[in-house]
């Protein structure tokens, strides 16, 4: 029998004056935290089971519930923090790799918040987006160096296939398995309505969603889950997943608890088995191997779809991106170290990878130095939290952004970081049908439309403020940014000036 030194992480505080014993909290909590004790005629909680997903807090009709950190107050220690100590208890007790979910929550600096944006005054009028056209449309794909037309103004050489985005925003790769059927339905329906795209992630494409293929980017990841001819054909673009910002260097992980019969059918793996994607693609050990896969996919799809590559932001991301561009990829998605995940080892999530701000700036600079930036599209991901982050990402050099966590938050996620357990009370990161049905796609997709539409308006306001009426004129326009509280080196890597310069 092992020694359990762990006190609960969270504590449920119930306001007895407000609680009416309606027992909604009992029904809502998949972790079975709340119970009604008949003999004592009162509600009780098992604090140890609480993951702080806020479901009961939100659903309680009288706001009688609060969740706080369980006050285990170790002696003040800036080095051996609460988390550092408890992580050791957990590993001593289980011998296991610590798993967690969503994105890096450590207090590394957030460079988005150290950059400010320009506005035009006097010498250059700002443009009013309510009265003037303000274009947000972007095209993702490979572009030729120049146009070739004959004297009758007919195109001599067709442009390679492009994705057409009505907003410079797409929904990031989140696999079916990591998230629920209803979550995928919400993303797919919203992508279609908005004129953007969602990404299937590495979990394959459920047959019910093939009708959204025009707005679907399918992923070919190291496990090749669900990859067959029909999968490739039910897409607008294909993304080869080499890496992911939350866990650079290792493969995807779907715990067996989340492999339901539908997930099993879509991924083509046995029910209940852990789906662990290998770390590298076992047919891609070098850049030339990647080039081979890119062209195989192009051949398989008749060169009719853009084929892109997703990588994690790591130390020499610029050189890697340059190689990928020359290997034939039509777009490169770069996922920064704050990117989310359904399940990852905590140490890798919190310590491996670099911030997307630096990654995008250095990849954009490197590709420009090599004279190839204009031929390929760059997509930034890894914690885009709001429209200002999007403006800054584009000014640093991105063509568009992917949002993952932000989309799930729009659907109701409360960032409890327990997706890997599969008991998501919001119906998002679970396969339990009773929980999944809590997320209504008809309502979910509207929330996503609201979010993207609102951000679109904010982006237009900021563009107009800068005197720009087309998002294309913001791309790589680093003079529109200034840094605050950054070292000279950080400014240099980002390629921006300090505020006041």
């Amino acid at each position: 029998m092992s020694l359990n030194l762990l006190t609960p992480e969270f504590k449920v505080i119930r306001d007895k004056d407000k609680c009416i014993n309606c027992k909604i909290c009992v029904r809502e909590c998949a972790n079975e935290v709340h119970m009604y004790d008949k003999k004592l005629d009162k509600m009780v909680s098992i604090d140890a089971e609480c993951v702080n997903c806020q479901r009961c807090v939100v659903m309680c009709p009288t706001q009688a519930l609060i969740i706080i950190k369980h006050p285990q107050i170790f002696r003040d220690n800036a080095n051996w923090t609460y988390d550092a100590i408890r992580d050791i208890y957990k590993q001593a007790e289980t011998g296991g790799v610590l798993l967690t979910s969503m994105g890096n929550d450590r207090s590394y600096p957030i460079y988005w918040d150290k950059m400010v944006i320009n506005a035009s005054q006097v010498t250059n009028p700002s443009i009013d987006p309510l009265r003037e056209p303000m274009e947000l449309k972007v095209y993702i794909g490979r572009k030729p160096d120049k146009i070739e037309i004959d004297k009758n103004l007919n195109l001599k050489v067709k442009i390679p296939p492009q994705l057409t985005l009505e907003f410079p925003i797409m929904f990031s790769a989140m696999s079916y398995g990591a998230i629920s059927y209803n979550a995928h339905a919400s993303l797919a329906m919203a992508a279609e309505a908005l004129g953007i795209y969602y990404n299937t992630g590495e979990g394959g494409l459920h047959k019910d969603f093939r009708k959204y293929s025009k707005n679907t980017i399918v992923q070919v990841a190291s496990g090749r889950f669900g990859v067959d001819r029909e999968y490739l054909n039910s897409s607008a673009a294909i993304e080869i997943k080499i890496g992911q910002g939350a866990k650079p260097g290792i493969g995807g992980h779907l715990p067996g608890e989340k492999v339901s019969s539908d997930v099993s059918e879509t991924r083509m793996i046995p029910i209940g088995s852990d789906a662990i994607s290998p770390a590298p693609h076992h047919d891609i050990y070098s850049i030339e191997d990647l080039s081979q896969l890119i062209y195989s996919l192009k051949e398989a799809t008749d060169y009719k779809k853009p084929i892109g590559v997703k990588i994690a932001a790591v130390n020499n991301v610029a050189a890697i991106a340059s190689g990928i561009a020359r290997a034939g990829a039509d777009f490169i998605a770069i996922d920064g170290f704050r990117g989310g995940t359904g399940a990852a080892p905590k140490r890798i999530r919190d310590n491996v990878g670099i911030p997307i701000e630096f990654a995008i700036a250095s990849v954009d600079s490197r590709l420009r130095q090599e004279g190839i930036r204009h031929t390929i599209s760059l997509i930034a991901a890894g914690s885009i939290r709001n429209s200002a982050d999007i403006i800054k990402a584009i000014a640093l050099g991105a063509d568009a952004v992917y949002i993952g966590s932000a989309a799930l938050i729009a659907l109701g996620c409360h960032m409890c970081q327990k997706c890997n357990i599969g008991k998501c009370n919001w119906g998002i990161a679970t396969q339990n049908p009773n929980l999944v049905k809590r997320l209504n796609p008809e309502l979910g997709y509207k929330r996503l439309i609201n979010l993207i539409t609102a951000w679109g308006r904010e982006i237009q306001e900021m563009l107009g403020g800068m005197g720009i009426n087309d998002i294309e004129s913001l791309k790589g326009n680093r003079l529109m940014l200034r840094g605050i509280g950054m070292t000279q080196k950080e400014l240099d890597v980002l390629g921006i000036l300090a505020a006041g310069e």
Binding site: I147, I468, D470, E472, S473, L474, K475, N477
Partner: protein, 373 residues
Amino acid sequence: MLKEGNIRIPSGCAISGIINKSGTAISGQMIADSIATMHDRSNGLGGGFAAYGIYPEFKDHYAFHMFYDDLKSKKETEEFLKANFVVALEEKIPTRKTRGINNAPLIYRYFALPKLEKLNSYEISPDDFTVKFIFNVNKNINGSYIFSSGKNMGVFKAVGYPEDVANFYKLETLRGYMWTAHGRFPTNTPGWWGGAHPFNLLNISVVHNGELSSYDTNRKYLEEFGYICTLQTDTEVATYIFDLLLRKHNLPINLACKVVASPLWSQVERMSQKEKVLYNSLKIIYSKALLNGPFSIIVTYENGFAAINDRIKLRPLTAAKKDDMIFVASEESAIREVCKEPDKVWIPRGGEPVLAELDQNAIEISEQKEVTA
């Protein structure tokens, strides 16, 4: 001479352009009178002119106009020039002392052709070779600046009001079929002659009233094609974009205008199928060559000019026509000053260029356009 490399100076100003489509030469007095009318749009910190057809005796030679800080930079530059070019004539550009024009650098012109042995060893076209030479001098030789490099044309500019600049360079004695002018109102005090407009590369000159919000996007795009943007002036990127589109990519002038002031996506949607394909492709391929922000620009090339505004017309531009003459200017008064009764006066819409070219029979057969790789 403080170069403007380190501070970005937006331009609020005055522009004017005149062409005689039959190719008849007119004196520089007309354009000087035109721009003088718009005196209050400038603040005396820059003025300049581009003149086409002024060097008929050397029409096949590159006419380099240079500013030198001192004799040292002149010597260094001439050594480099003569190592690469055969110089047919070199001389000081004639000027006269003019009140309001001070601190003049040394101003020289050279009529030159690239040495054949150099062209053969680099295996590039004479134009590409000359562009490399120009970037080299402007970037690497301190105190030297090539401010005009076209054939049978020249830029004349200084720090001062444009009408004083015209007087300084004795432009009334020069005769050409096409003239543009610019008066500057920078919000800084640069004091550098090279910062005035027009900005020139080979036969393309640009005068520009406005500020490019898209400047950094444009600049970074151009750098991929080997253009070195040293000045942080918006006009520099506008010039290089036209050089890229017209000379390197062989786009017709009207399509080049549709790249820098492209139709909105919603407008493209309403076009015919063929036009839709064409304009979609232009917008997709040349998205970073779109000029954003308020502007009126007159871009001149050997056979004519295009005057164009940004798509939502945030700067003024008026055009007029009389017999063989086409006039464009920031203000109608500048046109009326030199053309009392035009046949037609109009205000072009945002994004719609005014195109004026020499008539076919005015273009001599010997002026073949260089085909570059």
